[in-house]
Subunit: 462 residues, 2 copies
């Protein structure tokens, strides 16, 4: 009997029939994530209903040295949730209870399988606000958001997922349960162990429950589109907003190729500005329109802002945001996107864009590379559409582009993953951003938490 089958048979003792899927009974949503990198049918998918069952499964897998892959909503784009055909998936779908909202502490206690959108909605219904937001909100699960330290547009004001997690419960590789369900803002009782699991992509333990920190909802936001002569002027605007008004709830920068392409794809839309410019920013800020206008007028005087429009109503605000959202959405639905998610010190993002763009144009003259990003978070995205490439060139071109982009990131001492994580897809480039001592220490941590290498093996590093 194979090890996999032994695990499944031993799990039948405490899992019901409908908690085990094998072979063709496995829903294809467990085959791959939003990267669409590889579609693989795992050996089996187990659906534990509670922490104890997760613990029992891991205890058996650890004893038999069976590799397991934890899965949330599978909205990741780094392949961290993809399982091989000989691996067993633990899906947290059946652990989707919101256990408590504590109005005094301003916290929500949830099981790992609750979706981000469910958390956002429950917070809103309680008159509170959960600020982490990403495109996969309807599918992605809190356990996955924690395991990947999710980012998104609101990081600039509210921080990454890490800053919204007060406590977790986590099952270790050997089945031991660590109860770190802290509800307090301040807790300095020894090492803050939960930090190790946040962003570890399921390689050190499986998060089963969490205490989330809720915030007060923002009041009405002003939405604005600005044009700049150069990238650093956009950074100046951001810093002026922070100094004179407040930190924006989102602050997204685009270069002109991206902007024009977006407009060309938006139906019934003309350019809200009078001409084209080198760089643009779209942002939401919690500030009175008059204060915002005054600040923009000042920078218009000095030539740091060339043009600007403030949305006068919700519909206009949505129309402005479409300029930011159309390109990735369109390429994802009609093309074959290759997407990068890198970070650099904010002041260097402009120069990085020039160098990276030139290098890509030189090596891949037929491809258009589009630059945009959450620059207030030091985060740049690059998207290319590979749909016109012949199938047989695809892999080598993708590798070539990776080499170029990550090569420039390395030259700039940047990071190859700002918010998407490493998973499988960036594993071979991790050493571009992480030195040998650091990588060795990561391996030692992995060895400590998972000596039999059963938890999401070969993700992040081999």
């Amino acid at each position: 009997m194979s090890t996999q089958l032994q695990v499944v048979e031993r799990c039948r003792v405490f899992l019901a029939e409908q908690q085990i899927a094998m072979g063709d009974a496995i829903n294809i949503r467990h085959y791959t994530d939003w990267s669409n990198y590889k579609r693989i049918q795992p050996y089996a998918v187990l659906f534990p209903k509670n922490t104890e069952q997760v613990s029992q499964i891991l205890s058996i897998c650890n004893e038999l040295k069976q590799a397991v892959v934890p899965q949330g909503g599978m909205t990741g784009v780094a392949g961290a949730g993809i399982a091989n055909a000989d691996e067993i998936v633990i899906a947290l779908d059946k652990m989707h209870k919101i256990e408590e909202i504590d109005q005094y502490a301003s916290t929500m206690t949830v099981q790992a399988g609750v979706t981000l959108e469910e958390v956002q909605n429950a917070a809103r219904q309680a008159g509170l606000f959960f600020p982490v937001d990403v495109g996969g909100r309807g599918s992605c699960q809190i356990g996955g958001n924690i395991a990947t330290n999710a980012g998104g547009l609101s990081v600039i004001r509210y921080g990454m997922m890490r800053e919204h997690v007060l406590g977790i419960e986590v099952v270790l590789a050997d089945g031991r349960v660590l109860n770190l369900m802290n509800k307090m803002i301040k807790n300095n009782a020894g090492y803050d162990l939960k930090q190790n699991f946040i962003g570890s992509e399921g390689t050190l333990g499986i998060v089963t429950r969490a205490v989330l920190k809720l915030s007060a909802p923002p009041s009405e936001l002003s939405t604005c589109l600005c044009a700049f002569p150069d990238f650093l002027s956009a950074v100046h605007l951001l810093r002026r907003l922070q100094k004179n008004l407040t930190t924006p709830n989102a602050f997204e920068v685009m270069w002109d190729e991206y902007y024009q392409l977006s407009l060309s794809w938006m139906q019934n839309s003309s350019n809200p500005l009078t001409q084209s410019y080198p760089v643009y920013a779209i942002f939401d800020v919690e500030a009175p329109a008059e204060s915002l206008e005054n600040l923009l007028a000042d920078m218009f005087e000095t030539g740091e802002i060339l043009d600007a429009v403030i949305a006068q109503n919700q519909a206009q605000a949505q129309q402005l945001w479409l300029i930011r959202e159309t390109v990735p959405a369109e390429i994802s639905s009609t093309g074959r996107p290759l997407c990068f998610d890198v970070s650099l010190p904010i002041g260097e993002l402009g120069e990085f864009k020039e160098v990276c763009q030139a290098r890509l144009d030189q090596h891949f003259p037929d491809l258009v590379s589009l630059f945009f990003g959450h620059i207030g978070d030091s985060n740049m995205h690059i998207i290319l559409d590979l749909k016109h490439l012949p199938e047989d060139q695809l892999e080598s071109v993708m590798t070539g582009i990776d080499e170029v982009v990550y090569g420039v990131v390395r030259e700039f001492k940047g990071c190859i993953s700002a918010e998407h994580g490493i998973g499988l897809l960036k594993r071979d480039y991790l050493h571009y951003s992480v030195d040998e001592n650091t990588l060795n220490m990561m391996r030692q941590l992995k060895q400590l938490f998972d000596p039999n290498k059963i938890l999401n093996p070969n993700k992040i590093f081999k």
Copy 2:
């Protein structure tokens, strides 16, 4: 030759004469911290000038299995920096350079021995703001702030030290240097190793450099004193402020015994309110006085606020803040303070206070226990003055009070250290707030990072 002397002799190869202090040449500031727990002359104090020297010292100590104690400004109150007579101190005093302020990235790169106040001042001079603030600002060093995950009054708005550290450089027990000097807001390239060192009280590595995240300075603050019928009304006010205006920069709650004692000790001060009330809050908030007045008026109508005064100028604001600051300052300078720093879910702090107070009154009827704290951070402080106790009863009474307070904290599933850390003084109570699996995992982490147990041994746990 003793191991200690061997270490010192080998260090003479690369350390200058004035970088080594032994015996009576050791300044008494290295004997103890602000807890005044024990005054011990360490065997030697070494003053490395750079990271390489820290690495060389640790490499030698690790080889010879010599215990070392890292020291910053010695403003801690948990004894984490106190060395035994057979231990060697590494003091970071000579590594006090501010290396860079990056205006675009809004970061400051510093060596570990720079004081918090120097960081605050340098940020201010650059038109920016470093929000972490504690009473020891003039002496405490950034390395120590990181090692203890410092808190303070501004946590409610800006978060703990952890949230202001983007990168660190740290020397491991064996002398290896981990370069984690990240400057980016977003960096998900593998495990976020720096988190292990933040708050580990020098037991896992010695922080030598750091990249700090700077903020925009707050604009003018309104200072206000409010009186409430009960504790939960104070929490209501806090949540209303957050929802309708903004999160206060500080929000401090006191009970009446504390308030009255403070007034009695403040020279030339009458009660700014018309009578005494059960609970008070003093807070600073970045909001127009009119908005604040309207909000307070609403809550006055519902009886949740009984009285309030808003400072009309800077002098009045300082006078209000003196009510919060006088008691700890006075007891520290004229008495013998015993101070607690616990945290609980915010909604339970009021009940905790009642139970803890009653329990203390029952066991120690001659002592006055005063309750106050950063309740928006879930953090309660308790202070008692033991100056009238006979010297020979001191230790047993202190232990007795510890048992009572930490016992109630355990009953409430709270935390025995909100912001001060564990060090030596709370070590025996760590298991009140941390279960066995968690404590074992902390020990395993310690074993991984410091197998020879040379780094600040016996701190946090034995």
